[in-house]
């Protein structure tokens, strides 16, 4: 058996849920990330018998900030009917924001500061902040000090036509200026991942997501979204393509490195809107409330590397580390949930873990970590097919992993994800028996 560290208080996952993840510009188009966040929280609370005032902290991951709701955790919590007396904070850690939300909650529980944590994440890519050019912004701010109407003429001084055009933010690394797609494309080449491999993995993800949806395997983690003002009910994710084929994927052109790149729109995750929420409790608190926990949240770690060359390789570092802390081998893990930013990125991670060279050079260990069996990996689809609302993915991964542990009668699950900035995360769940 494992030898995880003993903590005075154990953190358990009681329930986790998400509203369906939708392609940006579809049914959630008119909503704010705040709306998605409160819908996820409300849905989770409605199906659980806990008094919202007994929650000790609301933690929410969110990446693309809307200025009006900069502490979106607080606004979402209040909007979902959580009383004023419950503090809330927001975490921005790129794609692992809600992983950090969960582990911050675990820390609060382990250190005896909290018994009930609501960890969550939300993101909309349908309404990202589009800004005016710097020069224009400066003039607008300066105009606040204008006193006479005549002074407004100054406003146009030095502004060219281009300064009036809006500026769309790109998903690029601030430190390197490289987009994530470019970086992933380079990494795939480094680890010898072919276009064919990537398309196959993407197709697998889409087909598995379609199958899981059809068989109702995701129902447990889904709460229907009721979209105001018409209150149309959204029951399922809409991003997976059941009918995708190698032929269709093969026709797509490289999206980032032209003409010889391997990453296309078909084997990358798409822009997504969505939110998720989970309840983490101190074990005895949950039991006293008559709740049956799904899983223990055991050891976890965060890692970081060079945002240039190893931007999305975090899981290859985090995974062996967390296994070691838990004294577990790859074979002990029954359920793997890996975040799929790009098919090429997942496959690079898998190759790295299975590489003797990578083990020696980068991990300073004698033997490779091993091969993750495909039949245990992301069997209900992943970010490529279900979608990837940055701030909300972490809670989805953990929730799905816990539900799979129970359904597949396993003991340990490993969840791992990469994030912009060259960071990564891994956590081990142990099924609650």
């Amino acid at each position: 058996m494992s030898n995880h560290k003993e903590h005075p208080f154990n953190a358990v996952l009681v329930d986790g849920a998400r509203i369906p993840f939708l392609k940006s510009g579809t049914d959630y188009n008119d909503l704010m990330a705040y709306d998605l966040g409160r819908m996820a929280i409300q849905g989770l609370l409605a199906r659980n018998p806990i008094d919202p005032s007994s929650i000790d902290r609301v933690i929410m991951g969110n990446v693309i900030q809307e200025v009006r709701t900069s502490n979106i955790a607080r606004e979402s919590a209040l909007g979902a009917g959580i009383p004023n007396s419950v503090p809330a904070f927001t975490i921005a850690m790129a794609c692992i924001s809600s992983n950090q939300a969960i582990t911050s909650g675990v820390d609060l529980i382990r250190s005896g500061q909290a018994n009930i944590i609501l960890a969550s994440g939300t993101e909309t890519m349908s309404d990202i902040p589009i800004r005016f050019k710097k020069k224009f912004r400066q003039n607008v701010l300066a105009a606040r000090k204008y006193k006479s109407p005549l002074e407004f003429l100054k406003f146009f001084k030095g502004l060219g036509f281009k300064d009036f055009l809006p500026e769309l933010p790109a998903i690029a690394e601030f430190s390197t200026g490289e987009t994530m797609g470019q970086s992933a494309d380079r990494m795939a080449a480094r680890f010898g991942v072919s276009r064919q491999d990537q398309d196959e993995f993407a197709m697998r993800s889409h087909h598995l997501a379609a199958k899981a949806t059809k068989e109702g395997l995701l129902d447990e983690e889904l709460i229907p979204a009721k979209v105001p003002p018409k209150f149309e009910v959204v029951n399922h994710d809409n991003g997976f393509r059941e009918d995708t084929t190698m032929e269709k994927l093969g026709k797509l052109r490289p999206a980032f490195i032209k003409p010889h790149g391997t990453i296309t729109a078909g084997n990358a995750s798409f822009l997504t809107d969505g939110a998720s929420a989970c309840l983490i409790m101190e074990e005895q608190t949950a039991l006293l409330l008559g709740l049956k926990p799904k899983a223990y949240i055991r050891e976890y770690n965060f890692v970081s590397q060079d945002p240039g060359d190893e931007l999305l390789l975090g899981p290859a570092y985090a995974t062996p580390k967390v296994l070691e802390t838990m004294n577990l081998a790859l074979e002990d893990i029954d359920v793997f949930e890996l975040h799929e930013a790009f098919a090429g990125q997942v496959l690079s991670v898998l190759n790295a873990l299975d590489s003797q060279e990578f083990a020696k050079k980068s991990l300073q260990r004698d033997n490779k970590v091993g091969q993750i069996p495909m039949d245990k990996l992301n069997t209900l689809g992943g970010s490529l097919s279900l979608g990837h609302p940055f701030g909300a993915t972490g809670v989805r991964l953990v929730t799905t992993a816990a539900n799979r542990l129970i359904r597949e009668d396993g003991t340990f699950a490993l969840v791992s994800a990469c994030a912009a900035g060259g960071q990564g995360h891994a956590v081990i769940l142990e099924r609650y028996k």
Binding site: R38, A46, N48, D51, G79, P224, K226, P229, K230
Partner: protein, 703 residues
Amino acid sequence: MSYINITTKESVAILSLDKPGEKVNTLDESMMAQFEEFLETLESDDSLKGAVLISGKENNFIAGADIDMFKARETAEDLEQLSKDGHSILNKIEASSKPFVVAIHGSCMGGGLELSLACDYRIATNHPKTVLALPEVKLGVIPGTGGTQRLPRLIGIQKALGYMLTGGNIYAYKAKKIGLVDELTHKDALEEAGIKAVHKLSESGPHDRKDKRSFVEKLLEGNPVGRNIIFSQAKKKTLGQTKGNYPAPLMIIESVKYGYQKGLKKGLENEAPLFGEAGATSESRALVNLFFGMTDAKKNPLEKKVSPVQHIGVLGAGLMGSGIADISINKGGYSVLLKDQTLEAAVKGEKVIWDALNTKSKKRIITPFERDQLSSKVTGTDSYEAFGKVNLVIEAVFEDLDLKRKIVAQVEEVTNDNCIFASNTSSLPISEIAKGAKRPENIIGMHYFSPVQKMPLLEIITTPQTADWVTATAYEVGVKQGKTVIVVNDGPGFYTTRILAPYMNEALLLLEEGASIEFLDKSMKKFGYPVGPMALLDEVGFDVAAHVGETMAPVFNARGGKSSMKAQELMDAGYLGRKNKTGMYTYDGKKKESNTNIYSFFGGNSRSNPDIETAQHRMALMMVNEAVYCLQENILKTPTDGDLGAILGLGFPPFTGGPFRYIDRHGAGAICDLLNKYSEKFGPRFKPAGILEEDAKNGKMFY
């Protein structure tokens, strides 16, 4: 302890109104006296620049005049004097050489608003609890301390008449927009804003107020001809609505008109006798009694046995279910799981609630965020998941005994032992629904009226098995939901449906005898019902009416009643009423017209109406007599419950005071004679109830 606590800040007298031992401030003699005293001090004390009137209560400025004071005076002369006393003080405030600023937070009603109108400057908080109104008309009187004079001069005649004739609420944002208040501020800055305003007024003279009326309003109100048009239109519209049953609205119009013809001073002098006259009418007295009945009903007689409720489960998300969910979250502050068979159906209910809140946010009564926060308290669902946490389940599903029993079993399965099961049935006996239940002591009837958001009554039905804590808790929930609650014993149709059934039956019999649809509705509206029986039948639906008729028939047949079978026949022929647009009226065209096709069920197209008084009495007395039967058979516990139930649930004319006060007013003897006369002529269903005959013999009254 004194009513007004006076302190001085920055040379400004702060008058904090805080009626000792009460939740809200009401204007009474002790306050008036203290005010009078202060006025003298203010005039003589040179160090004081002016005064700020503010409330020491939470979320209340002044709830209006003390109604006990009003009730204690019965003659027109005494009431007139009351009005004159008020005028005298308000005139002094208005005439004072020093500025009076009123700082309003919370409800500011009736006399409270009239007091504010006499001040030089009005500040209100931009808070959802800040509401202004002149609701006097609801008590059958007119605003009697200058309201009919000062309000139209401030906001315009048409707007003022609108508010005074309906007694409608004016929220802070709107009040500012129409010029009723001069400034909005937040709650904590209120006093400071008041002080500043006094200084400003004292330095630079009276506030220069912008005329906020629209161009058309100014045009029409600016000359005597235009004003006459306004007054005659208002009168016409009022008569159309009141059918002449309520004198107060006409007196309001009269008072405003007089003031514009003769000037403010004469207008005020004329207001007092009009107030006295209105207050002494039997209509006003009945409305005041109704008010007291409603106030008393807010007190839970079993307060100590209430068990806490946090989560309510509502089954059925239709009109009824969503209405119950609405008042549960918005008024009661409960969280609600709204269940229907499909998620889509449940979400429709959620949408109804959201839409209403969204409308409120558009009117700036609440913010969009508050809309989100409130609407998050209701969650539509298609499963019983999480019903384990629910303390009270209210079912509003189809009226079918087997279905309801099935639902009782399902709910008992998924809820804990302390969960109350309430049925919103309108006719099925609760004890029948409870048959076979595992926890019959937890079962109770909570009969709401449609539309739930508007209808003020909740009829609670207890069976001999219902536990006291269950009744106590249901009562508490009802009061929190903003309802006036009556508790009655179980029986077919309980109280309200039981007295409605013979009334509707009589209407159908009259139709069978040859009366026309319009005639029947017109007669009863003239009698004082808000809706006529035919239109009501359409709303209820022939299917429901037939079902109720069938449930109730044994009760009436045992007394030799004559049941019209027409509702059943119409239903069998596919007529359902408004819901499928085939009823007594047509609902396709723009204009509501009677559906002449339906006359083929009632003897053909040639109609002959009886005289209106006979028709009115036949229908109304069926209801009145049945109410007495309910008291006699212990369905009703008190006549007050009976009067409240009939007025608030069924629209029995409020100015009569309810069936029992109606009898008292006309005399049990006279009513008995009429009933006996009809009994001979139309059949034994009119036979007076036993206790009514006894009362007639002994000259007894119900009150």
